[in-house]
């Protein structure tokens, strides 16, 4: 309970600030940058939404319901771009397609063009940001809509066929409407990530709410206004979810059947199979293969940039911070889950449950916003301690926690607690009260029960939670950027800095390491999904 509240502090601080008057900064903002922020953010939202839904739902349907060469491979390969942080893909594409990049240089050489002779779509633009974010975020929508399509009773689709609808009719009139809640969930996740994204838009010099938060807080020293901007941002996403809920009305989307049959896929051949293949290949290629290939190429081209003394040090600091943060997060998540359960085997307590829910909201709060939320109470604490020490002992302690690794790791914990919590909770949920009761009748209770009964059951999920948080921390950029102690660098920070300085090929090494780490959860995820879905690849007899 206490722990939950502690973790919830930054979140509450952010929301608390919404009600703090921020003075005339608003009128200033409204007259200057706000319209631009608003416009860019809206364009980004709209563009990313269209792109992720189109790619995510389309490929999920192809992979789930159609049979074509490479389908099995794609069913998990579609996840790969998830391993690619948006800021990395952003400067990778810049490196490849900007004026000085190989593609344009090649075109110029080929046709003897000069700068004025041709038009090339600018990478560093709102459109470019939409494309970058869309390419790495579509797996969220893919993930949930594939799950939704797999869960759909095949009977419902077959009834649709006997009622005279072809494959397209079934898709648009049955499968798509049924998958809608799932798609909206995936879209909300993708949009949250869009909000959190700082690296891409900053690098592309596209002014959005997120970069605005940075500037207002760090540049203008107005945390309240920054928090208010952040809250507005979150409002967008919640609005989307609420509108969808209202639109459902009395409809329900849970399946009216509990019967699973093997999915009879539509066999595609010839041109259609080729089309499906390309449709799946393109996002994977653009979102993962091409950029990681380029990173690899660049790293190999400049091995000295990768193998200098700096790299092992960076990797060490990234990995050690990520390890500490993920271990602590796991411990806290376990504590919260058992706290919610009311000890090892007790009743649920609604107050505790609510506290845990609030503490898990950190995941929905963009990194920079969270940084604001963590820094403010830590600063307050430090100042209080300092003041107290000075008045009692005459010693100035200075800033004890702010700007230290403690603050940074705490921020990671707040941000990624939900990841660990959901994973552990789902697994602990499988331990039924009757199992505890059975253990009790055999004299195994309390901690003994946890060790002998619970841990063996949930150890796999604990491992998964640990890894997921580990990788998320490795990838995290904006909060690290704001909160890191002076001189402390991680792979993500270094990659970002090098890229910002246009030293793109030197940034390739650290980026590649992050991407490689990012593949781990992708594999875990796709394996877990393959295991847990009924009727995925079975036969057809019912």
């Amino acid at each position: 309970m206490l722990v939950a509240l502690l973790v919830a502090v930054p979140i509450l601080v952010v929301f608390g600030f919404v009600f703090v008057p921020a003075g005339d900064i608003w009128s200033h903002l409204a007259s200057t940058v706000l319209p631009v922020y608003l416009l860019n953010t809206l364009i980004l939202f709209a563009g990313v939404s269209v792109l992720v839904v189109f790619i995510g739902v389309g490929t999920a349907w192809l992979v789930t319901m159609c049979e074509f060469p490479g389908r099995r491979l794609f069913s998990w390969a579609m996840f790969l771009p998830l391993a690619m942080p948006a800021y990395i893909i952003a400067y990778t594409y810049t490196g490849m397609f900007d004026f000085a990049g190989p593609v344009q240089t090649f075109l110029r050489d080929l046709f003897d063009w000069t700068r004025q002779d041709y038009w090339f779509p600018p990478v560093r633009s709102v459109g470019g940001a939409v494309l970058m974010l869309g390419l790495v975020l579509y797996p969220y929508v893919y993930l949930v809509s594939r799950a939704a399509f797999l869960e759909q009773s095949i009977c419902v689709l077959e009834v649709g066929r006997t009622l005279g609808r072809g494959p397209w009719g079934i898709f648009f009139h049955i499968a798509l409407p049924l998958a809608r809640p799932a798609i909206v969930t995936g879209l909300a996740l993708a949009l949250m990530e869009t909000l959190s994204d700082f690296g891409t838009v900053q690098y592309f010099a596209v002014d959005t709410f997120t970069t605005g938060i940075f500037r207002i807080w760090l540049g203008m020293g107005e945390p309240a206004a920054a928090a208010q901007l952040a809250a507005m941002l979150m409002g967008f996403v919640f609005l989307l979810v609420i509108v969808e809920r209202l639109n459902r009305g009395a409809r329900k989307y849970h399946h009216t059947t509990g019967r699973y049959q093997g999915i009879r896929r539509f066999p595609l051949s010839g041109l259609r199979a080729g089309g499906a293949f390309l449709a799946c290949l393109l996002p994977v290629f653009l979102g993962f293969l091409l950029p990681s290939g380029w990173l690899l190429h660049e790293s190999l081209r400049h091995p000295e940039a990768v193998l200098n003394l700096e790299f092992p040090a960076l990797a060490f600091s990234s990995i050690s911070v990520a390890m500490v943060a993920s271990l602590l997060t796991l411990v806290i998540a376990m504590g919260l889950v058992y706290g919610m359960r009311g000890g090892v085997s007790g009743r649920k307590n609604p107050v505790r449950t609510a506290a845990v829910r609030v503490s898990a909201m950190g995941y929905a709060i963009p990194g920079p916003v969270l940084a604001v939320g963590v820094m403010i109470p830590f600063g307050f604490l430090d100042n209080s301690v300092d003041a107290f020490m000075r008045s009692t002992f005459g010693i100035s302690t200075g800033l004890l926690l702010s700007g230290t690794l403690v603050a940074l790791i705490f921020a990671y914990m707040v941000r990624f607690l939900a990841v660990a919590l959901n994973t552990v909770e789902a697994s602990v949920g499988k331990i039924t009260p009757n199992m505890d009761r059975a253990a009790r009748t055999m004299g195994v209770t309390g901690l003994k029960a946890v060790i002998r009964v619970h841990i063996p059951i949930i150890s796999g999920s604990m491992m998964t939670a640990l890894l997921l948080v580990f990788v998320d921390v490795m990838k995290e950029l904006p909060a690290t950027l704001i909160m890191r102690p002076f001189g402390f660098e991680t792979l993500a920070v270094r990659a970002y800095e090098l890229a910002s300085d246009e030293r793109l090929s030197e940034a390739a090494g650290p980026s590649l390491a992050i991407v490689a780490a990012g593949i781990i959860p992708v594999i875990i995820l796709s394996r877990a999904i393959a295991r847990s879905r009924p009727g995925q690849d079975g036969g057809a007899e019912g």
Binding site: P177, K252, R259, E541
Partner: protein, 349 residues
């Protein structure tokens, strides 16, 4: 005239299990039940008829139009068949009205409204048009599924275990109502079930399947009293299995000697299947019975309401089960004489 004809169907699905049907016909307005244990291929047969599955070989005809053959395959969406699943597979995101109107393609709004209103009245659900499936009871959902399948006026109605989702009490009621409705509308039906009682209750004709093949096809009475083999006899009702010996004129078993039908030319050892109701018991009143009579000792009996099941131990130690009206339930340990009813005794090689 037959509405549905399957001929020389050969189909292997991905479970390495094949369906072979030489000929299966469903006459207009008749209800044919595909009956068999799970995994016997009855659902696959239904799916072939629906056009959800393309047979490897053979032909499917619906109302004198070829639907599947070596050179043609008409998919489910163009066959004009209705389909009702075990779990109804109602569209949860559509109201009852929209569920039923789903298959009414190419009709105007008022036309749809008229059709839906009419069929809702027929199935007794007027007033539920705006509800969503989750607001309906199991029986009502079943009726919506039926209405949805019948609304486009299909040439054939296919039902896959349509009543097994209902609890026992509701099942009989819904089944009788559905049967009356189907007969009233003259609908041609092919229905899949694993429940022999359901098949006998519903069907004009039963097709009993096992391992992808048709074991026997006929009226419920034919299958029950003239089973072609042990499987059919045992599937349609309980049986006692004993050894028997066929002579030129008689069938000898431990429970008695029966006259052999004149047309039966077999002799030698046979397996004999005796239905419990074929074992008639008579209490000993002390007097001697005629030569050749058999007797058994009651070792237990259970009263099941209208009738009782009696476990008998024969002198050889073999146990058999007999069925009798409840008022005739004997005491444990009583010794009864046995009389066999020839009509429910089947001898197989």
């Amino acid at each position: 005239m037959s509405k549905l004809v399957l001929s020389h169907i050969r189909h292997r699905n991905n479970k390495n299990f094949s369906v072979e049907i030489d000929r299966l016909e469903v006459g207009a307005g008749r209800i044919v039940c595909l009956l068999g244990p799970s995994g016997c291929g009855k659902s696959t047969t239904l799916r072939i008829a629906a056009g959800l599955e393309q047979p490897d070989a053979g032909e499917v005809w619906i109302k004198d139009e070829k639907m599947a053959g070596p050179d043609i395959f008409v998919g489910a969406e163009d066959r004009q068949v209705g389909l009702v699943f075990q779990d109804y597979a109602l569209f949860p995101h559509l109201s009852v009205f929209d569920n039923i109107a789903f298959g009414l393609l190419g009709q105007s709004g008022p036309e749809k409204a008229e059709v839906v209103a009419r069929i809702l009245e027929q199935v007794g659900l007027t007033g539920s048009a705006e509800k969503y499936p989750h607001m309906l009871s199991g029986g009502e959902q079943q009726r919506v599924a039926l209405a949805r399948a019948l609304a486009p006026n299909p040439r054939l109605l296919l039902m896959d275990e349509p009543f097994s989702g209902l609890d026992v009490v509701l099942r009989n009621k819904v089944r009788d109502e559905t049967l009356a409705f189907l007969k009233e509308t003259g609908t041609t039906v092919m229905l899949v079930t694993h429940d022999p009682e359901e098949a006998m209750r519903m069907a004009d004709e039963i097709v009993l399947m096992r391992n992808g093949r048709v074991e026997q096809q006929g009226t419920p009475a034919e299958l029950y009293s003239q089973p072609k083999n042990e499987f059919v006899a045992a599937f349609l009702g309980e049986v006692n299995r004993v050894e028997g010996m066929l002579t030129d004129t008689t069938l000898e078993t431990e429970l008695g000697v029966l006259d052999k039908p004149a047309e039966d030319g077999r002799t030698g050892a046979v397996n004999v299947l005796i239905r419990p109701e074929a074992i008639r018991l008579q209490r000993f009143a002390g007097e001697r019975h005629p030569e050749g009579h058999r007797e058994g000792r009651v070792v237990g009996s259970r009263n099941l309401g209208p009738f009782c099941l009696i476990d008998l131990e024969l002198p050889s130690g073999r146990r058999v089960t007999a069925r009798a009206a409840s008022i005739l339930q004997p005491q444990d340990g009583e010794v009864c004489s046995i009389h066999l009813d020839q009509r429910q005794v089947f001898a197989f090689d």
